[in-house]
C-alpha cells in the first residue's frame, strides 16, 4: 500500500469509526456524568443491541435503521428498570460518592455477567454479522464501505439531536444541572432521583443506538461487551466526565488511534491502542483533555 493511501485510509476510516463510537461514549457520559453511576455493563447493552439488530435484519431484511425504532425504547425501558430496581437501593444506602462508586462497580460488574449469560443463552456463543450496504463508496479515489458511512451519518444525527436537546430544552437543562451538582439541583426543586433515572435510561438507549449502528460493519460475539465498556470509559476519561464536545473529540482520537494500529500493526491489537491513550492521559492529564485542573 502506498504511504499516502495508508494515511488517507487511517484518517477516513478512523474518523468514521470514531464518529460511531461517540454514541456509546455519550451514553456512558450520561450515566456517569449525570446519574453518577459507573456502569460496567454498558458494553453489554451495546452488544445486546447489535444482536437484536442482527436478528431483526436477518429475519425481515429491512434496514437496520428501522430497528432503532424498537431497540432504542426497549433499551431505555430496560435501563430505567435496572436503575429503579438495582441501582437506586445502592444510591440510597451509600454514604458518599466513593461508597457509591464501589457498590455500583460491583453491582454493574455482576449485571454485565447476567447480560452475557442471557445473550449466550439466546444467541449462542458464535460470532454474528450480517451484510448491509456492503458496497464500496469512492472518497478521494479510494473505496470505503458504504455501511461505515451510513453508520457515521446516523451517529452524527443522533449526537446533534441529543446535544440540542440537552442545551435547548428545559428537560436538558435539569440534566445538566444535576451533572454540575446534584445536591444544589435538589434545592431548586429538581427531582434528582427521577432525573438520574432518566439520565441512566437515556444513556443506555444512546449506547444501544451505538450498538445498532456499529453492527452494520463490525462482527460481534457475546463476550465483546467489556471491550466496548473499556473504550467508552477511556473516551470519557479523555474527554472529561461532563463535557459532550470533549467526548466527541476523544471519540475521534480513539477511532484514529485504533485504525492506525489496525492498519499499521495488527487488527488484533486495537485494545492496546485504547490502553496507550489511557496511559498517556493518566500520566499527562488525569483531569482529561478539556477538564480543568482542580
Amino acid at each position: 500500500m502506498q504511504p499516502g493511501a495508508a494515511v488517507m485510509d487511517i484518517l477516513i476510516i478512523g474518523l468514521l469509526l470514531g464518529g460511531t463510537y461517540a454514541l456509546m461514549a455519550m451514553g456512558l457520559q450520561l450515566q456517569y456524568g449525570v446519574a453518577r453511576i459507573m456502569n460496567l455493563a454498558n458494553g453489554e447493552i451495546l452488544v445486546a443491541a447489535a444482536f437484536g439488530t442482527f436478528w431483526f435484519f436477518t429475519a425481515t431484511k429491512v434496514s437496520p435503521f428501522v430497528s432503532l425504532i424498537g431497540i432504542v425504547p426497549l433499551a431505555f425501558a430496560l435501563n430505567w428498570a435496572v436503575y429503579r430496581v438495582l441501582i437506586l437501593p445502592l444510591v440510597r444506602r451509600a454514604k458518599n460518592q466513593g461508597q457509591l462508586d464501589v457498590d455500583s462497580i460491583l453491582a454493574t460488574f455482576g449485571i454485565s455477567f447476567i447480560f452475557i449469560g442471557i445473550l449466550l443463552h439466546v444467541f449462542g456463543g458464535d460470532y454474528l454479522s450480517y451484510s448491509y450496504l456492503a458496497r464500496p463508496y469512492v472518497i478521494f479515489g479510494e473505496n470505503y464501505g458504504l455501511n461505515r458511512i451510513a453508520a457515521f451519518l446516523g451517529s452524527a444525527a443522533i449526537c446533534i439531536g441529543l446535544y440540542v436537546w440537552l442545551h435547548r430544552t428545559r428537560a436538558g437543562l435539569t440534566l445538566r444541572a444535576v451533572a454540575v451538582n446534584p445536591s444544589a439541583a435538589g434545592l431548586v426543586s429538581i427531582d434528582v432521583e427521577r432525573v438520574s433515572a432518566l439520565a441512566f435510561a437515556l444513556g443506555g438507549a444512546v449506547t444501544a443506538a451505538g450498538g445498532t449502528l456499529l453492527s452494520m460493519f463490525l462482527t460481534f460475539d457475546a463476550s465483546l461487551g467489556v471491550l466496548f465498556t473499556l473504550k467508552a470509559l477511556v473516551i470519557v476519561i479523555m474527554g472529561g466526565v461532563s463535557e459532550i464536545r470533549g467526548a466527541i473529540i476523544a471519540s475521534f482520537i480513539l477511532g484514529l488511534a485504533e485504525t492506525a494500529v489496525a492498519i499499521l500493526v495488527d487488527p488484533g491489537l486495537t485494545l492496546a491502542a485504547a490502553y496507550v491513550l489511557f496511559l498517556a492521559i493518566l500520566l499527562l492529564r488525569p483531569e482529561g483533555l478539556f477538564g480543568r485542573r482542580v
Binding site: M38, L40, L86, P89, G98, D101, V102, D103, I105, L106, A107, F109, G110, I111, S112, F113, I114, F115, I116, G117, I118, L120, H121, S223, V226, L227, T229, L230, L233, V234, I237, V265, D266, G268, L269, T270, L271, A272, A274, Y275, F278, L279, L282, L283, P286
Partner: protein
C-alpha cells in the same frame, strides 16, 4: 510516616499457619492468644495436607481448586480489602504466570520459571500501580477491567509474529498431589505474609487509606507507595499461582490463560467470605467452589448467568460477607446478653 511502629520484634512463627489472628496487633511479640491460634492453625494445616493420602480422584481435584482459589482470593483481599480499590484483573496476572511457564518450559527448569513468573507479575503490577494508583479515584478499577484482555491480545499477536502456535503444551508429569501441596504451601505463605502485613506499619497505613485517603495523606503516609507495594505483593502471588497451575492444564492457550472468569470468581469468593479478616476469603472459597462444581455439572449452559446472579445476591444481601454477617449477629447477641445481665443485676439489687 508518622504512624507508630506496631510490628515490634515479632518472633517468626515456627510453622506455616493457615489462620493468623490480628487481635494483638498493637503489642509487640506474640501474646498467649496468638500462640494458641498459631498452634491451632498449624494443626489444621497438617490435617488438610493429608488429603492426597485419603483421596486421589474427585476430592483431590476439588482440593486443588479450593487451594488455588484460596491463594487467589486471599491475595486479592490483601490489597483490595483494606484499600477498597477493587482489582478486576486477577486473570491478567494469573495468565502471565501461566504463560511464563508455558513459553519457557523447554528452555529453563520449572522452579526457575515459577520464580520468573512471580517477578514478571510483580514488574507488571508495579507498572500498572505506578500509572494508576498515584491518582485517587476509579481509574485503577477501569484499568484492571480490560487488562486480561489487553495481555491476551498482546500474547496472541506476539505468538503470531514469532510464528508459534497459539496453544502450548506444558508436560511436566507433576501429580495432582504434588500440585496440591505446592498450592497449600503457597496458601500458607499468603496467610503468613497477610498476618505480617496486618501487624506492620504498611498494614496500618493501608487501613487508614481505606478509611479515609485524605486523612492518610495528612498524617504523612506515602499513600501511593503503600498501595503500589501491596498491589505488587498481591499480584505476584496470582502469577505464581498461574505458574503452579499451568502443568495441570497441560495445554495452554491465550483464551484459557486469560479467561475473565478467573477475575470474576476471585472477586465473588472474596466478597462472599468477607474482606476485613484475613481468613474471610477462605470462608467464601470453600462453599463457592463446591457450589460451583454442582452448578457446572447440573447447568453447564447457564453458568455465566448463574455466576452473575450469585454475585448480585452477595453484593445486595451480604455486603460485608459471611464473616461480617456473623460478626454483626454475634455483636447484637452480645449486646442483648449484656442488657439481659444488667436487667438481672438490677432486679437482684432491688431484691437485696
Amino acid at each position: 510516616m508518622s504512624v507508630g511502629d506496631t510490628s515490634g520484634t515479632a518472633a517468626p512463627p515456627a510453622r506455616p499457619s493457615e489462620m493468623a489472628t490480628t487481635h494483638a496487633r498493637h503489642s509487640s511479640g506474640l501474646s498467649a492468644n496468638e500462640k494458641r491460634n498459631l498452634a491451632v492453625c498449624a494443626v489444621i494445616f497438617a490435617m488438610v495436607a493429608t488429603l492426597p493420602m485419603m483421596s486421589d480422584g474427585y476430592w483431590l481435584s476439588i482440593g486443588v481448586s479450593i487451594a488455588m482459589y484460596t491463594v487467589l482470593a486471599t491475595s486479592w483481599m490483601l490489597f483490595s480489602g483494606p484499600t477498597n480499590y477493587i482489582s478486576l484483573g486477577t486473570a491478567a496476572f494469573f495468565g502471565i504466570g501461566m504463560y511464563v511457564v508455558a513459553g519457557g518450559i523447554d528452555v529453563l527448569p520449572y522452579p526457575a520459571l515459577v520464580l520468573l513468573a512471580g517477578i514478571a507479575g510483580a514488574v507488571f503490577a508495579a507498572i500498572v500501580g505506578l500509572a494508576t494508583l498515584r491518582i485517587a479515584g476509579v481509574y485503577f478499577v477501569i484499568f484492571t477491567l480490560g487488562m486480561a484482555e489487553l495481555i491476551r491480545q498482546i500474547v496472541s499477536w506476539g505468538q503470531a509474529k514469532m510464528g508459534s502456535q497459539a496453544g502450548l503444551y506444558v508436560l511436566t508429569g507433576m501429580s495432582d498431589a504434588a500440585l496440591y501441596w505446592l498450592l497449600l504451601s503457597l496458601a500458607a505463605l499468603v496467610f503468613l505474609v497477610g498476618w505480617w502485613i496486618g501487624r506492620s506499619r504498611l498494614g496500618f497505613a493501608l487501613r487508614i487509606i481505606g478509611n479515609d485517603e485524605v486523612v492518610a495523606v495528612h498524617s504523612g503516609i506515602n499513600t501511593a507507595r503503600a498501595k503500589v507495594i501491596l498491589f505488587v505483593i498481591s499480584s505476584a502471588f496470582a502469577s505464581v499461582t498461574g505458574a503452579f497451575v499451568a502443568p495441570r492444564y497441560s495445554y495452554v492457550e491465550p483464551t484459557i490463560a486469560f479467561s475473565p472468569f478467573i477475575s470474576f470468581q476471585v472477586v465473588i469468593m472474596a466478597l462472599l467470605g468477607g474482606v476485613h479478616r484475613l481468613w474471610g476469603p477462605l470462608v467464601g472459597v470453600i462453599p463457592f467452589t463446591l457450589l460451583w462444581e454442582l452448578i457446572n455439572a447440573s447447568f453447564p449452559r447457564q453458568t455465566t448467568l448463574l455466576l452473575g446472579v450469585a454475585f448480585l445476591l452477595i453484593v445486595y444481601l451480604i455486603p460485608h460477607g459471611v464473616v461480617g454477617l456473623v460478626e454483626d449477629l454475634l455483636r447484637q447477641r452480645n449486646l442483648a446478653l449484656g442488657r439481659l445481665v444488667e436487667m438481672m443485676r438490677g432486679r437482684k439489687n432491688d431484691n437485696g
